[in-house]
Symmetry: D2
Subunit: 225 residues, 4 copies
C-alpha cells in the first residue's frame, strides 16, 4: 500500500514538472518590428523557446511576443492594456527605442529624449502596478559599423544611457543589448561593414542576430525570480 | 402676502441667474503653449471670459486652461486623466496639432499622420466615456504668409483635413481655426508678412491673435448644449 | 545666264534651310533626374523633338539633355563647365529645384533658400558670360494633390517665388512649370490623388507628364530669339 | 675692400631674414564661422600669430582668415576664386565640415557624404592648380561629451574618415582636429559636459578652444615646406 502511494506521488510530481506544469512563468516581449518578427521561424522568441527546450526547461516558461512594427515608446503606452496587461504576464520584457531614434532621421517623427523618459516611466508604473515584473533593454543597432560612424550612433548611445538610468530609478532588471551588440561587432566585424553580420538591413536582425539576441536576453532572464 | 411671495420668488430667480449659478458650464481647454498662455492677461481664455462678462453671461461658464508648452497629441493622451478628467469638464475643447507638425522640422520629433489620428481617436473616446462633450479644433498657423509659401503649410493643411474627418467620425463639434485664420490673413495681411499680424513669432499669438481666437472659438462654443 | 544664277542661288538657299541647316539652334536642358530621363523614349526632350518634327521644324533645333539624378542647384554649378558650356548651347534651359526642397525631408540635405538664390545667380552669370541665352523654370511637383496638402508644397511655392524673382533680376525668360502643373492638377485630378496623373511616384513624370512638360516648355521656348 | 663687400652682403641678408622678410609665407585659413571668428582678439588665427611672435618667427608668416559663418564645402567652392585664390596663398588650410553635418539636424540642409567628397576633391584641385599647398582638417566638435553620445557624433566621425581619405588621395597634409579634440575631452572633461570646456555653445570655440586649435594646427603647419 505504502509503496503504491509513494509511486503515485512520484508519478504525480513527475507529471507536474515534466508534462503539464500548472503555472509556467509567462514572459511577454513588448516591442517593435524586431519583436513582431521574433515569433517567426528564426525569430528570437522562437529561438529562445528552442534553447529552453534543449535545456529541458521548455515547459517552465511561456514566451509570448507582443511586437508591432514601427512602434515607439508612446505606442507601447497607448496599447499596453489591450496588448500586454490583458495577457497577464509574470515578466514583461520591454525592448523599444530604435524607432524613437531612427524616425528622427527617416521621417522626422522620432521621440524627444525627455518625453521618451517620461513615457517610459509611466509605462513601467502601469505594468508594475498590474503585478508584472519589468525587465528593460537598451536598443541594439542602426548600422553595424563598430567605430561610431553610423549616423544614429550618438543618439543610440544617449538613449541607452537614459534607459540605464530608468532601470535604476524603477528597480528594473536591465538587459544591456546595446553594449552586447557593440562588443559583438568589435569582435566579429573585421571589415567594419554596415550590415550583414547581425542584421539584414542595418536594423532588422538576421538569423545570427536573433540567436545572439535570444542568448543575450536569456542570460539575464534566467535569473529573474 | 402674495406680493411678498412673488418678491421672494423673483429674488430667488435673480440670485440663481445673476449671482450664484449653482452649476456653471465648465469648459476645459486642453492644449499646448498657446493654451498655456491662454490664461495670461491677454490670453484667449482670459479674453473669452471678458467677452462673456460683457454679455452678462460670465457666471454661466467656468473657463479653465489646461495647456502645456510643446505638447503634441500623445502628450495630451498621457496626461488626460490627471489634467483634464480630474477637472470634471462639461465641455472639453482640444486644440492641438501645431507641434505635431512643427516639430518635424524644428527637432525631427513630429507625429506621423496615422499615429496622430490613432491617438486623437483614443483620447476622444476616453473623454467622451467620462461624460464630457468634446469639441476639437484644426491648428492655426506656423507662418502667416497667406499664399501657401510657409514651409509647414502642406502638413498643416493635411492634418487639418484629418481633424475634420476625426470630428465627423466621433460626432464632435469642430472649430475650424485653420480656415478662419487663413481667411483672416488673406484679408488683413496685404504685405504677406511672416509674422506680426496675429502672431509674435509665426506661431504664438499676440493680443490680436488671442482676441480673434477667442471670438472664433466662442462662435461655435455658444451653441454647444 | 542671269536667271540660271538666280536659280542656283535659290536652290542653294532652299537646301540650306530645308535639308541641312548649317546652324540649328542648340538648346541644352540642364537639370536633374527628370531631365536625365528626358532623353528616354517617352521623355520630355524626346517628345519635344517629335513635336518639332511634326511641325516641320525639327531641323531648326538641336535638343540636348544634360540631366543627372539627384542634382541640386549647386551640383549644376559644379559641373556647368564640363557638362553645359562645353556643348556651346545657344539656349540653356535650367530646370532645377525639386531636390533642393525634397532632400530637406528625404535626407536632410536640401538647400537653404538664400544659398539656392546665390548659386542660381552665379550659375546664370557664368552661362550668360559664355554667350548662351538662359531660360529658367519653376519646379513641378512633389505630390499631386491640388489643395496644398502635400508636405513640401510650402517650400515648393516659396522656391518658385524665388525663381520668379531670379528670372526678373537676370533678364531671363521664365517657364512657370509650377503654375502650369498646379493648374493642370486642379482641372484633371478630381480625386485629389497623390500620384498617377502626371507622375508615377509623386515626383517623376509619367508619359502624360512628360508630354505636358514638353508642351509647356515649348510654349515659351518657341518665342526665344 | 672685398671683405667689406662680403660683410655688407651678409648684413643685408641678415636684415632681410630677421627684420623685413621680402616674402613671408602666406597662409590663408579657409572655413566657416570658427575661422571668421579666428581673427578676433581671442581667435585661433590671432593666437597663432601671438605664438609665432613669441617664438621670434612672426615675420616669416602672414596669416590670413577667410571664414564665413554657415559655410559648407560647396560654399567654399563657390567663393574660392574671389576669397582665396585672389589672396595668392602659399599654403591654404581648409577647415570645413561642421555645418555639412550639423545643418542636417539644425535645418535639414546638410551635405550628402558623396557630394561632400566630390566638392572637396574639386576644390583641392583648383587650389593646387593655382600653385598653393593644401592642408586639410577634420571637423572638431558638435557637443563636447566624450562618450559618443552627442547626436551628430556618428556623422562627424564618418565625415572625418572621408577627409582622411581625401587627404591621402590628394597628397595633402592632414590636421586631425577631430582626433585631437576628442582626446582632449577624454582627458579634460571629467563630468562629460556638453559645452564649456573648449566651446561656448557645443560648437563655437571659447578662448581655450581657440588656443588648443592654434597649437594643434601649428604642430602640423610648422613642418610644411
Amino acid at each position: 500500500m505504502k509503496s503504491k502511494l509513494i509511486l503515485s506521488i512520484a508519478l504525480l510530481l513527475a507529471s507536474l514538472s515534466s508534462f503539464s506544469p500548472a503555472n509556467p512563468i509567462k514572459i511577454v516581449f513588448f516591442g517593435d518590428s524586431i519583436t513582431q518578427a521574433g515569433v517567426s521561424k528564426t525569430g528570437y522568441i522562437t529561438q529562445m523557446q528552442g534553447m529552453l527546450a534543449a535545456q529541458g526547461i521548455g515547459d517552465k516558461y511561456e514566451l509570448i511576443g507582443a511586437g508591432i512594427g514601427g512602434n515607439k515608446i508612446y505606442d507601447l503606452y497607448l496599447r499596453h492594456e489591450d496588448d500586454l496587461l490583458a495577457k497577464k504576464p509574470n515578466i514583461t520584457v520591454i525592448y523599444i527605442g530604435i524607432n524613437d531614434v531612427w524616425h528622427k532621421t527617416s521621417s522626422r517623427t522620432g521621440t524627444d529624449a525627455d518625453k521618451f523618459e517620461r513615457f517610459y516611466n509611466a509605462l513601467i508604473k502601469k505594468i508594475q502596478s498590474a503585478g508584472s515584473q519589468v525587465v528593460i533593454c537598451t536598443p541594439t543597432l542602426i548600422g553595424e559599423r563598430f567605430d561610431s560612424t553610423n549616423e544614429n550612433d550618438g543618439d543610440l548611445n544617449r538613449y541607452s544611457e537614459i534607459i540605464r538610468r530608468i532601470a535604476k530609478n524603477n528597480n528594473c532588471a536591465l538587459i544591456d543589448l546595446r553594449k552586447a551588440f557593440l562588443s559583438f561587432e568589435q569582435n566579429n566585424n573585421p571589415e567594419n561593414k554596415e550590415s550583414g553580420i547581425l542584421t539584414s538591413d542595418r536594423v532588422h536582425l538576421n538569423e545570427a542576430g536573433n540567436k545572439f539576441l535570444a542568448e543575450t536576453m536569456w542570460s539575464v532572464l534566467k535569473d529573474i525570480k
